[in-house]
């Protein structure tokens, strides 16, 4: 009887358990450095000095397999600037996955999951004289429930 009671408590505790998984990918350059980039004035060399190399030069590593989107693939879809080198991208991503119910194993019937992802992306386009033509900033948040 006592064992059954203990088992019941453990089952209830597990069923009410929560899991939070957070993954942060990359870090943006300092805000001041990003703010110092001026359209029509800042050169490609100054960008490389102040912000460091952009994402276009980063090779996908084994760790990239854990992310849901491939930044390299997306950049190719965005216009092939990888080959023309006329756009630099600086990006940072965050994922947060919350699970309520049994730990992330077992039948999903007993589990509720909601996830939130946020991507902060800066794109710098250069003109033919290697001067920054446009600076654009995208801050995307996506919420999903399962």
């Amino acid at each position: 009887m006592r064992c059954a009671s203990l088992g019941l408590w453990v089952a209830v505790a597990a069923a009410c358990g929560c899991t939070t998984l957070e993954i942060h990918y990359q870090r943006l350059p300092e805000r001041e450095a990003l703010a110092s980039i001026q359209e029509g004035i800042t050169t490609r060399g100054e960008v490389l000095q102040r912000l460091g190399p952009p994402e276009e030069f980063r090779q996908p590593s084994p760790l990239d397999r854990t992310r849901s989107t491939s930044p390299q693939r997306r950049r190719i879809l965005e216009g092939g600037e990888v080959f023309f080198q006329d756009t630099y991208t600086y990006a940072s991503e965050r994922y947060r996955i919350n699970t309520f119910g049994l730990l992330p194993v077992g039948p999903s019937l007993f589990r509720v999951t909601w996830r939130k992802s946020r991507e902060d992306r800066w794109r710098l386009e250069f003109d033919e004289n290697d001067v920054v033509r446009t600076v654009s900033h995208v801050d995307e948040s996506v919420d999903e429930d399962h």
Binding site: T20, H24, P60, S61
Partner: protein
């Protein structure tokens, strides 16, 4: 004294929580550490490609065989394309990917956090194989 179910629950739940507490921390890296002191010895307009290779060793572009890895998956194919693009522009890339993570596990609540960041060094050369530009972004600390 008779222990009621309510009292038993008050003691049992924290006990269950405590006995299943676990904190784990881990870190790992892919690539070689890029020493800022070594990078500072590379002088644009003066250092040659040979000196760069001597100081830092072969860059990413030469560490991976795109032909073999491209058989693997899309990411590798894209990686090969990026490497090819870099080479066409005559740039060397050195990269260190670091993963740091921790996990705290309780019976009721588990929290796992991971951080993946990259140290990236790109060196551009002019047609005479002299360093034209050095661009370095670092987030990691000394190993």
């Amino acid at each position: 004294m008779k222990i009621t179910d309510g009292v038993r629950a008050v003691f049992l739940l924290p006990a269950l929580l405590l006995t299943s507490c676990l904190y784990v921390s881990a870190s790992g890296a892919f690539g070689s550490y890029i020493d800022p002191a070594t990078v500072s010895r590379i002088v644009p307009g003066e250092s040659t490609k040979g000196q760069v290779l001597e100081l830092l060793g072969p860059p990413e572009e030469f560490l991976r065989s795109e032909v073999l890895t491209s058989l693997g998956d899309d990411a590798s194919r894209v990686s090969g394309a990026v490497a090819l693009g870099n080479r066409a522009q005559d740039a060397f890339t050195y990269q260190l990917d670091t993963l740091s993570s921790w996990a705290s596990m309780l019976l009721f609540y588990n929290h796992v956090r991971g951080q993946i960041e990259t140290d990236l060094l790109v060196i551009f050369f002019d047609p005479e194989d002299r360093v034209r530009e050095v661009s370095f972004r670092t987030v990691s600390r000394k190993p």
